[in-house]
């Protein structure tokens, strides 16, 4: 029962949109190995978590984020 804290969705609470160009925010939702963190861990709502996953993938395509850590 590690992550049982009820978190609020970062994007819903602050009325933000998920943007693949905003690497700084995306960086919060991936781990050291550049893997996308699960929604359970990030506390982001399911709707935004889906947008987040595609945003990270788009950022990877444009070399804004790397797909692996070095």
């Amino acid at each position: 029962m590690k992550n049982q804290k009820t978190k609020e969705c970062h994007f819903c609470v602050n009325n933000l949109e998920v943007d693949y160009k905003d690497v700084r925010t995306l960086r919060k939702f991936i781990n050291f190995y550049m893997k996308i963190l699960p929604g359970k861990r990030t506390g982001v709502c399911a709707w935004h978590q889906r947008k987040l996953a595609t945003a990270v993938k788009r950022a990877r395509v444009m070399a804004l984020l790397s797909a692996t850590h070095k």
Partner: protein
Amino acid sequence: MSKTKKSNIGHYEVLFIVPNRFTEDEAKQVITAVEGVITKNNGEIDYREYWGKKKLAYEIKHNAYGYYALAEFNADKEAVALINQELRLSNDVIRHQIIAKRVKSEEEIAKAKAIQEKINARKKEEEKLLKEKNEKGENDSKEKRSKKTETKKEEKSDAKELDQKLEGILSAKDLI
């Protein structure tokens, strides 16, 4: 499919990388050329952004650096396919990505604004509460401090009295 026919024109956003072998001026020329490709295919550019030279997260065709540029445009589906094809074949652009952007209706914008106002109001209230709390805390601590000083004074006065008593006793002893 909905029965009402929607216009074929959509709003798109293209982000592309110009390789580092160009100088900054040449890169800007390439960017204008890319914008030319969009306008040639009946695309209307309504927003431009130039990010400048950036380090790539990984090497693309042995390029460690690249010039990023962004353009938003309105075009129909077929035109977007053509633009995509041209950019893919171009040697002056090492990577590009065209993304369909949803255009917000006025209602949605109004809704978002209302929510933003609510959030701002809530934040202000929270700040107020925090300030009040802090002030209260400061007052409390001040009171505590003053109390402490009082007690210290009392202790000091006690010490003085003790000294006097002691002196009295000592003098009495001397008398003996």
